[in-house]
């Protein structure tokens, strides 16, 4: 990881110019593509997630870091052969029915994407049927739900129930989050994991899928 110190630092700071320059340098030096992604970019985003969880950096800084990572990925995408990079897992994500909040959910999507997950984002006010329908279509490893209002939280168990009725519950892990949501609530409604913020969402997701 020491190898990409400058790149790591630039992503962490959200310094797009320095990051893309460092990225180009690494590409020109013929480094292994997967290695650049894992140790240059994802490692930096892991650090971003960790600092976010501690409160050392905040939403605007996290967004800028993610944007920086995206810009770096643009440089490397033309070089990627099909199958070069395998996603860590597939995640279906959305804010539940009746709830229009999307910033938290977007941050989680972005951090997961930065960590190498493939994301399908259903947006906000997503009814249980839509979760089920899309889950049948994309066959995700994880279904992630967000609710920012205590009044819309009941849509979470309803969605879990709908997944069960459709015979999907055993095939997916369910993660939940949002300001009023708690670890206890996750137990109560038999979700598989609760994440308190976008940083910890990534590590919880990895843990669920047994990825280090």
């Amino acid at each position: 990881m020491g190898e990409y110190k400058a790149l790591n630092g630039a992503v962490l700071k959200g310094d797009i110019n320095t990051a893309t320059a460092e990225m180009q340098k690494a590409i020109d030096a013929d480094k292994n593509v997967q290695d650049i992604i894992d140790n240059g970019l994802i490692a930096a985003m892991d650090e971003v997630g960790e600092r976010f969880s501690k409160g050392l950096l905040f939403v605007p800084q996290m967004l800028r870091a993610a944007k920086t990572m995206q810009e770096c990925m643009k440089l490397i995408e033309p070089l990627l052969q099909k199958g070069d990079v395998t996603p860590k897992g597939k995640v279906l994500i959305g804010t539940v029915r009746g709830d229009l909040h999307d910033i938290g959910k977007n941050l989680v999507s972005m951090m997961m994407e930065s960590a190498g997950f493939m994301i399908t984002d259903l947006g906000v006010d997503v009814p249980p049927e839509k979760f089920v329908q899309k889950a049948q279509e994309v066959e995700p490893d994880i279904v992630a739900m967000s609710a920012l209002l205590s009044t819309t939280m009941p849509a979470m168990p309803q969605t879990i129930e709908a997944l069960g009725k459709a015979g999907l519950r055993a095939k997916v892990k369910v993660m939940i989050g949002g300001a009023p949501v708690t670890e206890n609530y996750a137990h109560e409604i038999r979700a598989d994991a609760y994440a308190s913020d976008a940083g910890s969402a990534v590590s919880k997701a990895k843990k669920l899928l047994g990825i280090s």
């Binding site: 501690k54 409160g55 050392l56 905040f58 800084q61 967004l63 977007n106 009044t151 300001a179």
Partner: protein
């Protein structure tokens, strides 16, 4: 380094806020009046400056122990003075022990009320606390034309033998204005007896074209109305003279619904989970209002039968609770209430214990989150009567309700600021009551706090939080991204010593164990700052969206009015430094006090304002932020703090 140029001592602030406006009684006499706040009953008494606490309480019927009858001999009429107070009198020094004097205990009969004062009448009751609730607001001058009229009427004796109905006889005297006069059944049933008892010379109580009662003619001067401010956390009642518009008494209490959740959403959640929830909330509210009413009436020596009118203003959910209307629709998108129109109902029908024919006016609302309280604030601000200059108003509590514009166009929105601005979700946050740090300043490199009640600090309320963060930003201990850490240069020793690092993250020591009320240290944590960033970003983004929709920039705004639990107390400079509001000239930023109840009393005192409130609810435009894509963009943009210092 001196912060608040606008800063005034706590009691001055207190005094300024509580001075009633438009009280002609005050204008006539040279006597100065001050407010005496009596705890735990939370009575607000208007007292002649220099009158003793004993005299004031006795006049209002508040019982104190005493053997000597106020001569300063028995030493039993003890009260605890919570405001700052001068040295004890000779009698007090003799009759009270040192510990008592230190605690602020004084003798009511020896204590003159020379400024606005808070006292506690039961020295043992340390649980009851002084809640700093906004009660008095400023209101514009206007011609009073109350919702209820009283008129002296004499029925001529020569009509007595002609066999005309009593009602027709009254009408004949009152034409042409009241030629369609009607009367409710209760009034008609007692009418013959009342006419007889008054010798056909009495005071008619009139509401529109309806005769509500026939009173003794002396009662024409006993003409009062009530207003209720239905806050989610606090309820305020005011007794208003319908003759001169003055505020006779003010009483407030914590909303008993608080134990079912501190905000609207948690109350709505309770309704979802409990079939009888609506009825329960209605009953709790009515009990609170009736209790407030009893105290108000007692202060003016009135009976429930003397009051014929009340006006209530609150957020849409609270107004639904008052009317026992189901507000569940407000819980989820698209946030639909049952009713937005202003409503006139019988006070008895909602459970208010007033005259059986009394009426209750409930303010119009705009939507699920733009309530009668914001409409009242707009009335108070005068924005709708303003033709040219653009006015921005903020009602800051758990939700930040915002309006922008003037008579040509008025935009409103409700920004989900979250409870941080009321001290919730903050490690050592609390609502504004005794022991809350409500203001922070740095002088000669020392941090000093203004604490409600001048006791050891128990926590930080919204205005204290905004002040503290503004001070730390100013001194460089919080950077513009919101990171708490000591600056590289210009460090201040007294602040350095309060910066404590734990697991790589700094915390700011607000008060050490020795300094705090609970003997436990109090901190401002990094996460607390993040909570404030979210709250202020939501408000700032709301302002920005309204400005964009209106097509104006900051400089176009000529007046900024702040209202609500936080709005009235937050220092404009701190609000600007933290980016809660844009960088205005601080001089155009003013507090409206408890504008919700002021607006309601304007409607009470003037049919014109009631009509205006109803027109306003049609006229104002509601911008629903949660469905706006650009909201998120502005929200994130406003999370950082502004960079430059302003003092």
């Amino acid at each position: 380094m001196r912060k608040h140029q606008l800063e005034t001592p706590q009691h001055e602030k207190f005094r300024r806020g509580k001075r009633p406006i438009g009280t002609s009684v005050l204008k006539k006499s040279r006597t100065q009046y001050v407010w005496l706040n009596v705890l735990p009953d939370d009575l607000w008494l208007k007292v002649r400056q220099g009158e003793t606490v004993w005299g004031a309480l006795k006049r209002e019927g508040v019982e104190l122990e005493s053997d000597c009858g106020g001569l300063g001999k028995c030493g039993k009429c003890k009260v605890r003075v919570l405001s700052s107070i001068g040295p004890p009198s000779k009698e007090e020094e003799e009759l009270l022990d040192e510990e008592e004097l230190k605690q602020g205990i004084r003798l009511a009969c020896r204590t003159e009320v020379d400024k606005d004062f808070v006292i506690h009448t039961e020295e043992t009751d340390f649980e009851a606390e002084y809640f700093q609730i906004l009660k008095t607001g400023h209101r514009p001058f206007f011609h009073t034309q109350p919702l209820i009229n009283k008129r002296l009427i004499t029925l001529p004796p020569d009509l007595l033998d002609e066999g005309i109905s009593e009602m027709d006889r009254i009408k004949m005297v009152m034409v042409p204005e009241y030629q369609d006069l009607v009367a409710p059944i209760h009034c008609l049933r007692t009418l013959p007896e009342r006419l007889d008892a008054t010798d056909y010379h009495g005071a008619a109580v009139l509401h529109e074209n309806s005769l509500l009662a026939w009173q003794d003619w002396e009662e024409v001067d006993c003409h009062f109305g009530l207003v209720y401010d239905l806050g989610t956390s606090t309820l305020v009642g005011k007794l208003i003279s319908l003759i001169d518009g003055s505020e006779v008494a003010v009483v407030s209490c914590l909303n008993s619904q608080m134990k079912y959740g501190s905000n609207v959403i948690s109350r709505l959640k309770y309704l979802q989970d409990h079939a009888n929830g609506l009825e329960r909330f209605h009953n709790l509210l009515i009990n609170d209002l009736n209790r407030i009413t009893t105290r108000l009436l007692k202060a003016a020596n009135l009976q429930p039968n003397d009051v014929f009118i009340a006006v209530a203003a609150g957020n849409t959910t609270m107004q639904h609770f008052l009317l026992t209307l189901d507000p569940s629709g407000i819980a989820e998108a698209p946030f639909s209430p049952v009713l937005t129109d202003g409503l006139i109902v019988g006070a008895a029908a909602v459970g208010l214990e007033l005259h059986p024919e009394a009426l209750c006016y409930v303010m119009p609302t705009k939507s699920g989150y733009i309530g009668g309280d914001l409409i009242s604030v707009i009335l108070t601000s005068g924005a709708w009567e303003q033709e040219d200059e653009i006015i921005l108003g903020l009602d800051l509590g758990t939700n930040g309700e915002i309006f922008l514009g003037n008579h040509k166009r008025l935009l409103t929105c409700s920004a989900a600021a979250g409870p941080a601005l009321e001290g919730a979700t903050i490690s050592h946050g609390m609502i504004a009551k005794a022991g809350a740090i409500e203001g922070v300043s740095v002088e000669a490199d020392n941090v000093s706090y203004q604490i409600i009640g001048n006791i050891k600090p128990k926590g930080v309320c919204g205005s204290g939080l905004v002040d503290l963060v503004a001070v730390l930003l100013h001194c460089g201990y919080i950077n513009h991204e919101g990171l708490l850490r000591p600056p590289r240069k210009n460090r201040i020793e007294s602040l350095d010593s309060k910066m404590i690092k734990r697991a790589g993250v700094y915390e700011f020591l607000i008060a050490s164990a020795e300094e705090s009320y609970s003997s436990r240290p109090m901190y401002l944590t990094q996460k607390d700052i993040r909570e404030l960033q979210l709250a202020k970003a939501a408000v700032a983004a709301g302002i920005q969206i309204l400005m964009n929709d209106m097509g104006i920039v900051t400089e176009d705004i000529k007046h900024v009015y702040l209202a609500g639990a936080l709005g009235n107390y937050v220092d404009p400079l701190s609000a600007i430094r933290t980016g809660l509001i844009p960088r205005f000239n601080p001089e155009i930023v003013t507090s409206l006090g408890n504008a919700a109840s002021t607006g309601a009393s304007m409607a009470l005192l003037s049919k014109n304002y009631w009509r205006m409130a109803n027109e306003l609810s049609d006229f104002i435009e509601h911008v629903e932020l949660s469905s706006r894509l650009d909201f998120n963009e502005f929200f994130v943009e406003n999370m950082d703090f502004p960079k430059g210092n302003i003092w």
